[in-house]
């Protein structure tokens, strides 16, 4: 039998959600390998082992200067070619919270048409910046998963509503902003908006919580799906009906969708 897919999780000083991200992938059936960013930079070929790449949440390098800035600078200057090669190989990638901020600043999102990866990292056209109240927020806002989304991580959740349709956020710089309204319109028409807030606590433009690249494989989101892989993670699970809690947990669905898809690809 073929080995289960290998998810490579890239950590560094100040990332702090890699443990639960690993657990989510393992519950979804993946093998995992945790690697320090500097170890990957010193040997970028190691990325070739990965079937899935994951960038965890946290405060990489203290989020000093801006959230994810130093991490993304290292990706742009040291790992751009290796990441593009992985993307061309069809490797799904997820950036959660700080990982999303890193993707955006590195220029991996909103991304490129397949076979159109530039030689160097481009200037960002979108940003994740300070919440409108200029402070950290931890809560579980309601979300929706647009039905036209190409995102392979969230497609299975398109009909998700009511009590299960929440996701936990925990960030100070989670407000999505685009350089212009055309960018938002293009993301919408391209099916790149993967998750939207119904309540929009940080004040994101277009209520955007997460987007994918045009291939649907590279996905970044501010909420933490890895904190929603058991029903006991739900903020009011003590009120949920047994019927509800017998269904799959939405956060885990994201990981399982992609791990299953990779596993079912011919070797």
């Amino acid at each position: 039998m073929q080995d289960p897919p290998l998810t490579m999780i890239v950590r560094t000083a100040g990332t702090n959600c890699e443990g639960e991200l690993r657990r989510a992938f393992e519950l979804a059936g993946s093998r995992t390998e945790m690697i320090h960013l500097d170890a990957l930079i010193s040997d970028p070929a190691r990325i070739e082992r990965a079937d899935i790449l994951a960038f965890p949440g946290g405060f990489s390098y203290g989020d000093d200067i801006a959230a994810g800035r130093v991490f993304s600078m290292k990706l742009r200057t040291k790992l751009w070619d290796a990441l593009c090669a992985a993307a061309e190989r069809g490797v799904p990638m997820i950036g959660v919270c700080n990982g999303f901020q890193v993707f955006v600043q590195a220029g991996l999102l909103p991304g490129f048409a397949p076979d159109a990866y530039p030689d160097g990292a481009p200037q960002p056209s979108i940003s994740l910046t300070q919440n409108k109240e200029a402070r950290f927020i931890d809560e579980w806002p309601r979300v929706e998963y647009p039905s036209n989304s190409k995102c392979i991580w969230t497609q299975a959740l398109a009909g998700c509503s009511d009590d299960p349709a929440l996701l936990p956020i925990a960030n100070a710089e989670g407000r999505f902003v685009a350089a212009d309204s055309a960018t938002i319109a293009q993301l919408e028409s391209n099916g790149q908006i993967a998750v939207r807030y119904v309540d929009n606590p940080g004040g994101s433009q277009g209520s955007i919580a997460g987007i994918c690249d045009p291939s649907g494989r590279i996905f970044g989101l501010m909420p933490h799906p890895e904190r929603y892989i058991e029903w006991t993670h739900h903020p009011y699970w003590t009120r949920l009906s047994p019927e509800q809690t017998s269904r799959p947990v939405p956060g885990l669905v994201m990981f399982k969708s992609v791990v299953d898809a990779v596993a079912s690809q011919p070797a």
Partner: protein, 997 residues
């Protein structure tokens, strides 16, 4: 040269920093027409134009939202500029990150960096701009405020320090001179302690070196040695004494009626634990000896817990004080056993009323609202960056915390149960890991033992620090890797550098084996530190390990990979000529100090303390005509009761992905949970509940309270909070944190004795062993005109309880619109001595010590007896409630505390809101209805149970009403007919309004 970069929002009108600054200015009564904010980076390096452009475009600015310019941007017309930078020597974590990023990005050696913020205020005067700076943007203890942009030619450098050995003449000093030296040199030792030191050196026929004297002062400080709580106390009571003194451990009753207690802590808090262990409590693992108490969790893991206070530093610099408070407590967990992984934090703050008029804030103090905001930001920024969920806490307001805010920070860790103990071995290397040593944090331990005055902010600015969480996170990552190799842990012992710095850490680890330290080997933040400063500096984020020589290379490799600095400072194992362990200190080969470990650890004289208790006599105020609706709404809006959502939402309470019961409950995320529950080992169903108890008003002598009752009630409240979420009441471990005013005052010493006795009695009754604790005494402030402000005696009890199965956890939000509400009381059933009339008067129908009394006085019809509480009844009640929860018949459970039974019910109603389905309640009050509704007697729970099974609860409590689908609370005042009808949305507005800043 220094390059200056300014980064600002392209559109200041939508810049959250500028908008926040505008709100802060308004709160100070200043209306700027416009505010512009900019981040400033000063880089001292030789850079060419290409390098400058790279930094500007690729590092500093977000190209979508920001612009970055070189040099000084001109200010908008007529605007007042304020620039805030850290003072030289103050930790600047952003600068450290920038230093490394610049070096990596443009390929130069790490340059010196300083960062700051620039603000331009239009439409304000220069004085107003300065007021905004001092009132909201800067603290001059750690920041420099400039009225124009700062662009110096170079950064100041410190000259290398003079390292000649200084001897302090003490042998020939008389007592008066000893007292003067103790205060002037910031030793804060008593005369007897100074005399003991003098005798030691007279016997040696030499004078001490400065470093020897400093080491003794640090090690003997109240902060490090808890000398008040360990002293012998002679206690007398005038008037009646409600404590039965017979058959207490360590207590002698003299013929004259006075009582002598030998080692207060050992005879009460510790005695309860050791007696419980002897009686069969077999799940504690390490109590009182390590940096945290350790208990069993499951067959592979143990759990450890510690709660610290960081009060004095937080009074002077609330942000840095609170951040380094939680940072230090996390290091305690990292330094427990062979290192634990931190899995949860707690925080409890006591501050003065947030609406205190500015004119009433004494000189030398910060306004309490600002203090609270900055404390919260400090805990938030450190704990969130460490990736540890902050799960439980409380805030208590009283005007007497105006100069002495209390900051309690707790941390819980998990560790393999074969790694719960470490000992430094002779020959092990003394290894320092983590942050560098600087001049920040000198004299923290002795400072924390002093009474504050209005000049302390200036005198002790060096004791205050700013933390760097990422440094600590890297160190944690490295330590956990070094702990767990298959070949075994790479070190034999570990501890943190807390109060006293290296002097305490090495002194404690080497207590039985001795140590030789080479102080010149410590990595320094900058030049200019003398050897004694290196030894006692409390710079943050440092750990000390005892490492066998053979493991050093493996440890070094891990540290290199995690970017953690490692330094070998010396070796453990050193004895004097008589084979007694000795501490030997060198600087570049010269001996600078030599101290017997026995003098450090056992040499401190323990004088007898005097305690005299006079039961406070206060006039009972009688309430006027108050209706239930008004009282309930005003109580819900009282800052002590009002929602703390604004605070809790700023903490990450679910990082690590193990939080099962969060601090905010219900679909709307508003309900104040009783305790949090985590599932630290996801593969196991077992959980850990985390809660606390704080009953300050019941112990407040100024309010007629008794600290003995306060201790009983705090432990009871902690137990109830844990039981309400599903903890096993027979698997609860607790911690004590005493914050007291000065105990040289016999009245305060007596209130401390009484609280300790309450701790003993309640811990025995509830079978809840204390596993760790800490005290912070001398929380009082001398104003410029000599007035003394003492805090009320404050005892925090923190508890952790094992939850056998997290799927059975219960929350406090009402679940059904057709259920029965049961008020559970510690009813003394089956007790022969039971006198129902007396019981009603002293507990159930009693509003003494309640928030109702604080607002209005005692209800007119009530009997003003003092409140009484028997913890043995409380224990039986806790077990019955736990059984009902385990059987699955309890839909919601909430402890009845601040605001009494109706406030508890209101919170349960508010918490249920948000699903679209309405839940209301119809309840009754009894005779003496205001006391019944709003009294805060200990021991009570409010439960929502399935209507069909309510009959089974007749033994447990009384049915007080039912839920219904109305979205209203209807209170049927059976006795007076003054019924109340209140909508849940009115309750909600009152509850949320006060603290939603």
């Amino acid at each position: 040269m220094i390059h200056r970069f300014e980064v600002r929002a392209k559109d200041p009108k939508s810049d959250p920093t500028a908008l926040k600054t505008t709100r802060q200015a308004r709160a100070l009564g200043i209306e700027p027409e416009a505010v512009h904010a900019a981040r400033v980076y000063l880089i001292e390096a030789k850079l060419n134009a290409a390098q400058i452009n790279t930094l500007r475009d690729a590092l500093f600015a977000d190209p979508v939202l920001e612009t970055c310019s070189l040099g000084i941007d001109p200010a908008p017309d007529g605007a007042q500029t304020i620039e805030v930078h850290p003072l030289p020597g103050v930790m600047d974590p952003v600068a450290q990150t920038v230093q490394n990023a610049v070096a990596e990005l443009v390929g130069i050696d790490p340059p010196r960096v300083s960062t700051g913020w620039r603000y331009d205020f239009a439409g304000v005067s220069a004085e107003q701009a300065h007021s905004i700076a001092t009132g909201a943007l800067a603290n001059t203890t750690v920041h420099a405020i400039h009225a124009e942009p700062l662009h110096p030619d170079s950064f100041p450098s410190l000259a290398p320090a003079d390292q000649s050995v200084v001897r302090v003449a003490i042998c020939d000093l008389d007592d008066d001179a000893l007292v003067k030296m103790s205060r002037d040199d910031h030793l804060f030792l008593s005369l007897e302690e100074m005399q003991t030191i003098r005798s030691h050196y007279r016997a040696l026929d030499r004078e001490p070196t400065d470093i020897e004297l400093e080491t003794l002062a640090q090690t003997w400080s109240e902060h490090c040695v808890h000398k008040t709580l360990k002293s012998t106390v002679r206690y007398t009571a005038s008037g009646g004494d409600t404590i039965d003194w017979s058959d207490r451990p360590g207590v002698e009753i003299s013929p004259d009626g006075s009582v002598v207690i030998h080692n207060l802590l050992k005879s009460t808090v510790a005695a309860a634990t050791h007696e419980l262990i002897a009686e069969g409590v077999d799940w504690t693992r390490s109590v009182f000896v390590d940096n945290a108490g350790i208990i069993d969790f499951d067959e592979h893991n143990a759990v450890c817990i510690k709660v610290e206070t960081h009060n004095h530093p937080s009074a002077i610099e609330p942000y840095g004080g609170a951040a380094t408070g939680i940072g230090g407590c996390i290091r305690d967990i990292m330094g427990t056993g062979l290192a634990a992984k931190p899995i949860a934090n707690t925080d409890v703050f006591c501050v003065a009323m947030p609406d205190t008029p500015r004119a009433d804030v004494p000189d030398g103090c910060i306004h309490p609202k600002r203090t609270l905001e900055r404390i919260i930001e400090g805990v938030r920024d450190y704990a969130n960056r460490m990736g540890i969920p902050t799960l439980n806490g409380a805030v208590y307001f009283d005007p007497r915390y105006i100069a002495n805010p209390l900051v309690y920070c707790g941390c819980i860790g998990i560790l393999p149960n074969d790694k719960t103990h470490g000992d430094a071995q002779p020959g092990d290397l003394i290894v320092a890991l983590g942050g560098r040593t600087g001049r920040d944090g000198i004299h923290g331990a002795t400072f924390s033992s002093a009474e504050l005055t209005d000049t302390h902010a200036d005198e002790f600015s060096h004791a205050v620090q700013i933390g760097n969480a990422i440094e600590e996170k890297r160190t944690l990552d490295a330590i956990l890797r070094a702990r767990d190799p298959e070949s075994g842990c790479l070190y034999s012992a570990i501890t943190d550098c807390g109060a006293g710095g290296f002097s305490s850490a090495v002194g404690e680890m080497g207590e039985t084996v001795g140590a030789v330290v080479h102080l010149d080997k410590a990595p320094l933040k900058y030049d200019g530190l003398r050897y004694d400063e290196i030894w006692i500096s409390e710079s943050q984020e440092r750990m000390v390990l005892a490492v066998p020589d053979a493991n050093l290379a493996a440890l070094q490799q891990i540290c290199d990979e995690e970017h953690v600095e490692l330094a070998v400072l010396g070796t453990f194992g050193n004895s004097d000529s008589e084979n007694n362990p000795e501490l030997l200190l060198h600087y570049t080969g010269t001996e600078v100090g030599r101290l017997p470990m026995a003098l450090l650890h056992d040499g401190i004289p323990m004088p007898t303390r005097v305690a005299s208790w006079t039961p406070p006599t206060v006039e009972i105020k009688k309430a006027g005509d108050i209706d239930i609706k008004r009282a309930l709404l005003e109580l819900l809006a009282h800052p002590n009761i009002a929602s703390k959502r604004w605070i809790v939402r700023q903490y990450d309470h679910e990082v690590q992905g193990n939080t099962v019961i969060k601090p905010l409950i219900g679909p709307g995320g508003i309900g104040p949970g009783d305790a949090a529950v985590i599932q630290p080992v996801p593969a196991s169903k077992q959980g850990l509940a985390i809660g606390c108890g704080l009953q300050t008003s019941l112990g407040d002598p100024a309010n007629g309270g008794d600290p003995y009752l306060m201790a009983l009630a705090a432990i009871d409240e902690c137990v109830r909070n844990l039981v309400c979420v599903g903890a096993d009441p027979n698997r609860i471990a607790i911690l004590d944190n005493f914050c007291w005013p000065g105990c040289d005052d016999p009245n305060n010493m007596a209130s401390l004795v009484r609280a300790c006795m309450g701790c003993y009695d309640a811990a025995k009754a509830y079978r809840t062993p204390f596993v760790s604790g800490k005290d912070s005494l001398n929380n009082q402030f001398r104003t410029k005109d000599g007035t003394l402000i003492e805090i009320p005696p404050t005892l925090l009890i923190t508890g952790v309880g094992i939850v056998p199965d997290v799927s059975k956890c219960v929350t406090m939000d009402l679940k059904s619109d057709d259920s029965t509400l049961i008020l559970v009381q510690p009813y003394p059933d089956g007790d022969e001595k039971f006198n129902p009339d007396a019981w009603y008067a002293t507990s159930l129908w009693n509003a003494r010590g309640s928030h109702f009394e604080q607002l209005y006085g005692i209800p007119r019809e009530s009997h003003p007896s003092p409140l009484e509480f028997d913890p043995t009844f409380g224990k039986r009640t806790a077990e019955k409630v736990a059984r009902a929860i385990d059987e699955g018949v309890v839909l919601a459970a909430h402890d009845v505390s601040d605001g009494g039974y109706l406030a508890a019910l209101a919170e349960m109603l508010i918490a249920a809101e948000g699903t679209g389905r309405q839940i209301g309640a119809h309840v009754m009050t009894h005779l003496d209805e205001l006391s019944f509704a709003f009294g805060e007697a200990p021991g009570r729970y409010l439960l929502e149970v399935r209507r069909e099974r309510a009959g089974e609860f007749s033994q447990l409590g009384s049915c007080v009403g039912w839920t219904n689908p109305t979205a209203n609370l209807y209170v049927d005042a059976c006795a007076t007919g003054k019924n109340a009808h209140i909508s849940v949305s009115e309750l909600r507005s009152a509850f949320l309004g006060t603290l939603d800043w």
